[in-house]
Amino acid sequence: MESEVFDASSSVTVVAHELKAPLSLTRQLALSLDFEDSIEGAREVGRQIVATSERALQQVNDLTRIARLDDALFEMEPVNPRVVCDEVISELWQLFRFNRREIEIEYRNKRRLAVANRQLLYSVVYNFCLNAMNYSGEDLPSRISVYDRQNKIRIDVRDFGPTVPTKVWREIKDGFVKRPVDIAMRPGSSGLGLYIAAKFANYMHSDFGLVRHRDGTSFYIDLPISGQLSLV
């Protein structure tokens, strides 16, 4: 049952903690405005407040969508993955900047359209990127890649940080993702973002997985190619 996330007290704790972090930072940033003596400095604080609160709102929206998945309100449609990735980057670049992180995009797909729900795909890529932002090492940009893979279009997001433990790799590979704590993959991670991504990928009948590298991890989603030639 999709609403199981709200049934397990451990999962509620995970969700609460995940939301508490950006809300706490937002409050402290607002309070810190009293200590700012330049207009540009205050504007910068304002930008960070916006970026941080948008992250929290995205998480709340994602959790709401999980609760609505059973109602099948999310229609599948032809989607251009490049456009979705561009939108995610446009939304997240400020947050990356405030976290002193960078992200690169590499588009290599020849086939342009995939079958997905645009909103859910956006959330999948968004959560992959947030995960990469948290785990990439110093001075190493995260990377989104979009490319053709057999009869699918793959979007993967690569980080350069600690790789996931083999136990977690096996659980995700076997599709065993019941609640956030099951994929709390690296120390300091609740796994909530990846749990959300896995739920949405599953709803879209897309393959969700990960690749362990010696110097990090890639999370990917494989989307069926759309027979439609263009969105125009």
Binding site: A21, P22, L23, F35, N99, N134, P187
Partner: protein
């Protein structure tokens, strides 16, 4: 000098703004911080608990095991709800909840424990 050990880089700007004038060094995991303590002994440490790698408690245990670092004042500043007994158990000077603290709390701690405030 104040060592700030927090893996959420979003807090870095906040600490820089509130602790303006103090010499700050940021670490995003406990191992890097402990390694640097071999070179420089901080006057004061701000420590988060949920870190990538060893937790803040592991960092505290490590610090307390070395006579050179055992007396360094440490404040736990975290989103994790914690009982006051923790402060006594680990000998920390303060436990602040990120969601409830006021910047003036932080300033007061820095003023009290950081002996090398510049400007």
């Amino acid at each position: 000098m104040i060592f700030v050990i927090d893996d959420d880089r979003g807090w870095e700007n906040y600490y820089r703004r509130i602790l303006k004038g103090h010499e700050l060094e940021f670490f995003h995991d406990g191992i890097a911080a402990i390694s640097e303590m071999d070179v420089v002994t901080p006057d004061f440490v701000i420590l988060d608990i949920l870190l990538v790698g060893p937790t803040g408690f592991a960092v505290l245990n490590e610090m307390r095991s070395y006579p050179e670092l055992a007396e360094v004042p440490v404040a736990i500043i975290s989103s994790v709800a914690m009982k006051d007994e923790i402060a006594q158990q680990y000998g920390v000077v303060a436990v602040l909840d990120k969601s409830e603290m006021d910047p003036s709390d932080l300033l007061a701690l820095a003023k009290e424990y950081d002996g090398k405030k510049s400007a």
